[in-house]
Symmetry: C2
Amino acid sequence: MGSLKKSGGVNGAILSRIATNDQHGENSEYFHGWKSYDKDPFHLSRNPHGVIQMGLAENQLCLDLIKEWIKENPKASVCTPEGVHQFSDIANFQDYHGLKEFRQAIAHFMGKARGGRVTFDPERIVMSGGATGANETIMFCLADPGDVFLVPSPYYAAFDRDLRWRTGVEIVPVHCSSSNNFKLTVEAVEWAYKKAVESNKNVKGLLFTNPSNPLGTILDKDTLKNLVRFVTKKNIHLVVDEIYAATVFAGENFVSVAEVVKDSEVNADLIHIVYSLSKDMGLPGFRVGIVYSYNDSVVSCARKMSSFGLVSSQTQFMLASMLSDDSFVDNFLMESSKRLGIRHGVFTLGLKKAGINCLISTAGLFVWMDLRHLLRVRNSFESEIELWHIIIDKVKLNVSPGSSFQCTEPGWFRVCFANMDDDTLHVALLRIQDFVSKNSNKTAEKASDNDQVIQNNNAKKQKWKQSNLRLSFRRLYEDGLSSPGIMSPHSPLLRT
Amino acid sequence: MGSLKKSGGVNGAILSRIATNDQHGENSEYFHGWKSYDKDPFHLSRNPHGVIQMGLAENQLCLDLIKEWIKENPKASVCTPEGVHQFSDIANFQDYHGLKEFRQAIAHFMGKARGGRVTFDPERIVMSGGATGANETIMFCLADPGDVFLVPSPYYAAFDRDLRWRTGVEIVPVHCSSSNNFKLTVEAVEWAYKKAVESNKNVKGLLFTNPSNPLGTILDKDTLKNLVRFVTKKNIHLVVDEIYAATVFAGENFVSVAEVVKDSEVNADLIHIVYSLSKDMGLPGFRVGIVYSYNDSVVSCARKMSSFGLVSSQTQFMLASMLSDDSFVDNFLMESSKRLGIRHGVFTLGLKKAGINCLISTAGLFVWMDLRHLLRVRNSFESEIELWHIIIDKVKLNVSPGSSFQCTEPGWFRVCFANMDDDTLHVALLRIQDFVSKNSNKTAEKASDNDQVIQNNNAKKQKWKQSNLRLSFRRLYEDGLSSPGIMSPHSPLLRT
């Protein structure tokens, strides 16, 4: 067998460490939830008792506007009789700079998606295979294997794959907590930086999503300024993933890092933005990811890397036309924000009726739902997973547990609300309300002897409900959740 | 500055080694040639004296058939009034398995593109961002940084980027030579393997293109079988890049590695195929790359990696429909082969008229042109580059020098012939013929005193022409090629 080490199994050492190290993160509960949904997907008429997918941050609220535009603009596609005369040129186009019109349109759209308060240079627009590819690309450009990026937690579960898996970069979380509504502070970053340096880590940068996934919150301008100054002082990078820029539906304006990059105390060479059309436009299938850097060398390097994940020229061509249509874009952004706001309002109000609160948020396609009071054992990640399995298997809603976002406090869940129609959302809310209500009633009857103290105390009615809900959940997991697969001791979350 | 090393320049150590190591290969002459073309691109009417691009292996000969199909199948696009009702589902589709219909159609097409002699399992079809992404993906799956893949030379210039740049994998060339028409032999592979092992390299596999880029030749079944047995014996991988499978226009059938994988002496877990629609269909802009592996773990791992370079769902949807249309595919493949054969015939005949031979080939979108007799100094790579600059700057044809393919014999050039219309090809041939003829005549006049011996010898007429051509080339580079930029001593090719 020459110089090769013999492997234990069929593949063993014959595959790479990356192929065998499991750091793609797909064994996390986050992906497990998706699989449950896949097995029994809800459909209003065909499968009304199926699992409703609330783990997918999709934006389906304004696709009707895009469809209208497509019907009115047949020349925008090379696959229509009206546009096919351009087919050959477009089908052959593989320049990694991208179609000039595409880059211009994207830059223009990025400005509009940030309220028109900043402009972007088309020459700095680098294509990538979705934000997934864009985040990996920027890591490959900035950091060597073993280098560290600080990432505020809770953070997007797939960052473990996107930022680390093939690059070898390490993530050190900057823990945020409910004590200040999970707000990212310079102090928390400084502390994490200091700890990492003390552990002999080579910290290469700070990366966060703004608006935040999974929180749906946005960072205020002062904090952003201070963070930018901090990275300048430490000579480390700042990558801001702004793929939810246009999902802000209430409150203050979203402040892009592009707004503070010209601050005199900033080294712009350290500032990079990741963008995408998957969330703001609702087009994840089209795989439009963007790396936007103020550092010329990074632009040049990332562009070379874009060869590994170029946007289909068919897609570039259509989007170039669509995104340069000012009246369409203006209306789309306004309407999208409005519809997201309404959807968010309906959903959070519905949750409130069931006694469930969420972190106050003004952006995103999800809420950060607080179920701490429903955990069987407070402050226990095991209980979080138990509760989560009940929600999936009994309430039939696929939501995502906070631990899959590396949240340090058990009991939080990300729930997506923009990937379904009004009817489905209605069913989801009914299920939650019915479940809470029915189980409270049932348990109340049974508990009449045991829980007299609580029942007799009207002032503690809300607490009583919660307590009973915990009981009902406990009964449920005792009834139905004893299969070893579901409570696998090898669940990575139990390590959290 | 914390624990960070201070950098010399603005970027220095703040960027990654990958970003600063230059191993993307874009400084090679191969890419330099493209840049020359970009500055002054030929157009029949608008810029008839511009550079003709013959360095790009594009297939534009059958795009009319695709355009016809598109016009007749408006439902195949989600961006037509007829197909837009499916827009939302497709725009949101981001499952890394790909659309089921797409995988089935691709598998079906791959079989047809190999003469229907093999079938492919849709469950093993893994998407990737073009063959560029597919080749990188398979390296990430199979090898660790520092591991070696053996690659027969001459090989596709961008392999240095695709296989090595971000993966850290090393390429050890298996040198093929004109002595046996550059045929890959098991002996050559064994020798390279042995040498690599002796140098303490961890050889993880063998990778080659079949049909060969840049040679346009195909590998016979016996050799393929023996290579497959060799990798089995050594427990190393075999990756066959078959992106030119359907470009075979003459001679024997192309034998895919899929045809020999069931050989009893083969470990199928070691066999992997890279495919793409860029060459066979002429759709490089659509970025359809495929990793097809017989190893379940590799399929699973590559699929996870495909998240970094998924095919746009807009593109998947259209191609699913097009490639499952049997009568279209059958006609396309037959017509494409026929047109490539005619084009190849016209081009090589035209070159012959100018006294230029090519390696005999039966596939590909290019010929491997033998200009060894025109080198100022025989067997000199410096002369090859000189000659190449003359061809670009004076004859105004962007061809690719053999050294950029790691060819060990100076004087060979890859010339693409399928990325232009008949008229442009005609102009290209006229330029070559005129150039050879005019310069031969001029030099013949001047040389009447000096070269009496040769002129008087009718039997050596051909040799005389070549000799004078060398003279004319010499004059040309003395006239026009003295700019330091062009003859940069730092050209990576001088290291070859």
